[in-house]
């Protein structure tokens, strides 16, 4: 359909310290071929043409890979379409006359910057705590020196495909970032290059996760359901294995 009219309820919040509220706008002329973000572009253009301030929302690649876009749409992270980032959600999944509620990610560890934008620096700090292989440039042996079974490499890839958007946190009633943390732990633990540090890595990353104020995982699995990249909660099981082996075998104390 080429000419839908939607009622949009969007979150307005000046900055992290101010109180936010919903603001309602009507948008006509929405085409089914538009992406959700293009629909917001059109809304913002309309607002700017009235001499007012547009809604701040984050986006970049618009191809579903950079992880910049976010948005809770009608209560779902990245909207109701499974396996889809907001930027790849298209308006053909909505109907004329719909009311659409649009909010930022809600989590204590993701403070609101403005309107629909949140700060996800906590994710960087979790990776900095140990989400890497400790090698320097120039130290590598030949790329084919170690054969890695095809399925195993594919398994590592499935974890590595995480885009760091934060949907798992937004979807989780505990606001846990365990799926994000586990994806990196599991990616590296499945490869011989990353296996060496796997146990310590799990320990350090989980400690940082807790310190950032993310909640504990209680196996609700909403994260998996709303992850735009379909990252499986099985990776959390692998993280737990590494974590427990670390607490049993390592000299480092886990608090």
């Amino acid at each position: 359909m080429d000419n839908m009219t939607l009622t949009l309820k969007l979150w307005r919040q000046k900055n992290a310290n101010s109180k936010g509220a919903f603001e309602t706008h009507t948008l006509a002329g929405v085409s089914e071929h538009m992406s959700f973000l293009e629909m917001l572009d059109v809304l913002n253009e309309q607002i700017i043409n009235e001499g007012k301030e547009p809604f701040a929302f984050e986006h970049d690649c618009r191809e579903g890979i950079c992880g910049t876009c976010s948005l809770m749409i009608n209560g779902y992270a990245h909207g109701p379409q499974q396996g889809t980032t907001t930027c790849q959600l298209h308006m053909r999944h909505f109907n004329d006359g719909d009311t659409v509620t649009i909010e930022p990610w809600r989590s204590q560890a993701f403070p609101v910057v403005k309107d629909l934008v949140v700060n996800r620096d906590a994710f960087d700090r979790i990776i900095q705590a140990g989400g890497y292989v400790s090698i320097n440039t120039g130290q590598a042996q030949d790329g084919n020196a170690i054969a890695i079974e095809k399925e195993q490499a594919a398994g590592a890839f499935d974890a590595a495909t995480c885009i760091g958007c934060g949907a798992c946190v937004a979807a989780c009633p505990n606001a846990s970032a365990m799926l994000f943390t586990a994806a990196k732990v599991s990616h590296l633990a499945q490869l011989p290059q990353g296996e060496v540090e796997a146990a310590k890595r799990a320990q350090k990353m989980v400690a940082q996760h807790d310190q950032e104020g993310f909640g504990r995982c209680s196996n609700i699995t909403a994260c998996e359901a709303e992850c735009p990249k379909g990252i499986s909660v099985a990776h959390i099981a692998r993280l737990n294995r590494e974590y427990i082996s670390a607490s049993l075998g390592s000299e480092t104390q886990v608090n």
Partner: protein
């Protein structure tokens, strides 16, 4: 390397647009010796900075993509004090992440005759003989180290059943040298660099500044000594000092508004250095990627690429008959209704040796020719088919054969073949369906060329240093390796080559002379002045208080660029475009509306600063395209083509790099003669 004196080719157009031409060839500082030994010898004899001195030297890196991120991690490992800036909320968001298809390396794991020389030669030829031989050979040499490095970081490349690395083919070459991680190679390589960078941050060697946009370069005593940034969270204008500044800030494809670049990709960091005197080289060399999802409407914000790897198996075609094409455009028929004999697989017909895997510039122009003839297959008339049916049947038969199943059962064969295609390109097909609402396993994809990459960029010498001492440019931000056209899977290679294996060495040639220079003072008058300049620029934008949105100016600029400086160009159009851009720029400063204020998170102000810079860069691109009276690679001048419509290069007059000094709208052209000692200049043929 000082070239012979050359005779400038001034014709009526260059006179008309009033440019100044300098007659001394720029010096690329290429080391002497045979091509294959240059880098090894140079690397072993260049000045070094001792570990104790590295700790006292600060380096600023702007951008955290493959080039910037890799350079930051590596310089941190070496012991320099590194400060890294990105406008993104995290270094992992850099646009390198969107690269799909793969990364080239001359490993010859497939035993198909690949070598460093062949990768070098393919790149020079693919670039239509407009790149610097020495840089390209170095790129080919270090390509093999990149794969090793990435594997050691835990990058999950695709593998064969034997557990070794898999390869595929890309356009413009006849070997399989492309390494890949499904259709997300850029993501995986960037995360590798990001993880190495994160390790250096945790070790305290690198300080990370997220959400900081570079808004000016600071030059002190003739050397680049720092940058001015705007903290995007609160608008604070900050001064940052260092002994040297490295840009890894990507390309400027978004000058066209619609491109495959991310929405926030911009040229401002690079352009600000041009405003301070750095030369912009070959700005007219833009890559138009043949396989993108066609434009669907006026609201379109960006274009989505379908990886070139699809051309391994997809066949490009249009209907032979105008009436069939018309019926498809009007929705009365689909591609499936067209009989095999009524289809024109035009790439296979025109270029039998390379077929669907001709280089990007060739494939793009051929699509344009087909659509210009009225054979386009989307409602707008601007699309051709990319068809996987033949590949599905071929793979299906092969699987049926190996499993001992009935090869003549078409339905079964189709099912098996679809599974193979799904494994190879699943995520790309899914993306296509999400965007278009059409199932590409059943109906052929519709594709059309779109702006994708810019070969032009800041002029750099062999050390990747610009003409401003202490200012370096890496990756897509520089001009050096791809000539007039980049081959597929070579952008990732160049970004990582520069970041991991070239810049960390070559920056030593500058820094070795700086070991006695104390920490640079960010309160020096040059810094204060640059900060004031930035504040004045921002105040000026807010003061306009006009009626039109920033976005609307960007769209209009993009249309001018695409219409007159896009897939094909001519002198008349370029002269007109320059005038239109100048007028649009005047209108921008008269009537733009930037809401809000500076001291807050303000996306409209961010855009306004970037679009203001695009409005100058766009003009320079038209000037460059007008000066280059030949066709080469991505630069196609209608006046210069063969009888068959192929690009007509003019090596006698234009075998040079155009390095432009902006000079506030009165550009001066500096030329670097390209000297080919190892490769014979030939007409590129893919027939």
């Amino acid at each position: 390397m000082t070239g012979p004196e050359f005779k400038p080719a001034i014709d009526e157009y260059t006179l008309y647009i009033r440019i100044t031409i300098k007659n001394m060839s720029l010096n690329g500082n290429v080391p002497p010796g045979p091509l294959g030994d240059k880098w090894t010898k140079y690397r072993s004899s260049m000045p070094l900075v001792a570990p104790n001195n590295k700790r006292r030297i600060e380096v600023i890196i702007v951008g955290t993509g493959l080039a910037g991120g890799a350079a930051a991690a590596t310089l941190g490992e070496l012991g320099y004090k590194v400060k890294v800036f990105t406008f993104h909320d995290s270094p992992r968001r850099a646009h390198s992440i969107a690269a799909q298809g793969g990364i080239n390396a001359a490993k010859n794991y497939q035993n198909d005759g690949d070598s460093i020389y062949r990768l070098f030669y393919d790149t020079i030829k693919g670039g239509d003989y407009r790149s610097r031989e020495s840089n390209v050979h170095r790129l080919a040499e270090v390509s093999v180290n990149i794969i090793d490095q990435a594997v050691a970081q835990g990058v999950p490349f695709a593998r064969e059943y034997g557990g070794l690395l898999a390869n595929r083919s890309f356009g413009g070459v006849q070997v399989s040298r492309t390494f890949y991680a499904r259709g997300q190679t850029g993501q995986q390589l960037l995360l590798g660099a990001y993880q190495s960078l994160s390790r250096q941050v945790s070790l305290g060697n690198v300080t990370m500044y997220n959400r900081h946009e570079m808004v000016d370069l600071v030059i002190k005593d003739g050397k680049a000594r720092g940058i001015i940034t705007r903290n995007l969270l609160n608008g604070e204008i900050e001064r940052h000092a260092a002994h040297a500044v490295v840009l890894g800030t990507g390309g400027y494809g978004n000058v066209f508004y619609l491109s495959t670049n991310a929405m926030n990709s911009n040229s401002s960091a690079a352009w600000r250095t041009v405003k301070r005197g750095a030369y912009m080289a070959n700005p007219c060399y833009c890559q138009i990627h043949p396989t993108c999802i066609p434009v669907s409407g006026e609201y379109q914000s960006k274009l989505t690429l379908m990886s070139e790897s699809l051309r391994n198996d997809g066949r490009v075609w249009v209907p032979k008959k105008l009436e069939d094409a018309k019926a498809i455009r009007e929705g009365r028929m689909t591609g499936l209704d067209i009989a095999e004999d009524d289809r024109d697989y035009y790439l296979e017909r025109r270029y039998p040796a390379f077929g669907n895997l001709v280089p990007r510039d060739v494939a793009s122009r051929a699509a344009k020719v087909a659509c210009d003839e009225g054979l386009g297959v989307s409602p707008s008339g601007l699309a051709v088919f990319l068809d996987f049916n033949a590949a599905i049947m071929r793979y299906g038969k092969s699987v049926a054969h190996s499993r001992g199943l009935n090869e003549s059962d078409d339905k079964l064969v189709k099912k098996l073949g679809t599974e193979v295609i799904e494994e190879k390109y699943g995520n790309l097909f899914e993306m296509y369906e999400k965007i278009t609402g059409e199932n590409p396993y059943v109906r052929p994809m519709k594709i059309y060329p779109a702006i994708h990459y810019t070969m032009g960029g800041l002029w750099v010498d062999y050390n990747l240093q610009t003409n401003i001492p202490g200012l370096f440019a890496t990756g897509e931000a520089n001009f050096s390796d791809h000539g007039a056209n980049r081959l597929g899977a070579s952008a990732l290679m160049q970004g990582l080559a520069d970041g991991y294996f070239v810049l960390p060495y070559t920056i030593g040639t500058f820094l070795a002379n700086e070991i006695r220079t104390p920490m640079i003072d960010a309160d020096a008058p040059e810094f204060m002045q640059a900060e004031k300049d930035v504040k004045d620029r921002i105040d000026r934008l807010f003061a306009v208080k006009g009626k039109q949105s920033v976005e609307s100016f960007h769209r209009r600029l993009g249309k001018i660029m695409w219409d007159y400086c896009g897939m094909s160009r001519n002198a008349e159009g370029l002269i007109k475009a320059r005038k239109l851009i100048q007028e649009l720029r005047d209108e921008f400063y008269r009537d733009v509306f930037v809401p809000g204020s500076n001291d807050e998170y303000n996306q409209e102000l961010e855009k306004a600063l970037r679009v203001a810079d695009f409005l100058e860069l766009g003009e320079l691109m038209t000037v460059d395209a007008l000066d280059r009276n030949e066709s080469c690679g991505g630069h196609f001048r209608e006046e210069y083509q063969t009888e068959e419509g192929e690009a007509l290069r003019r090596d006698d007059e234009y075998a040079y790099v155009s390095a432009w000094e902006w000079n506030e709208g009165n550009p001066t052209l500096h030329k670097e003669d390209l000297i080919f000692e190892n490769v014979e200049l030939k007409t590129r043929s893919y027939k």
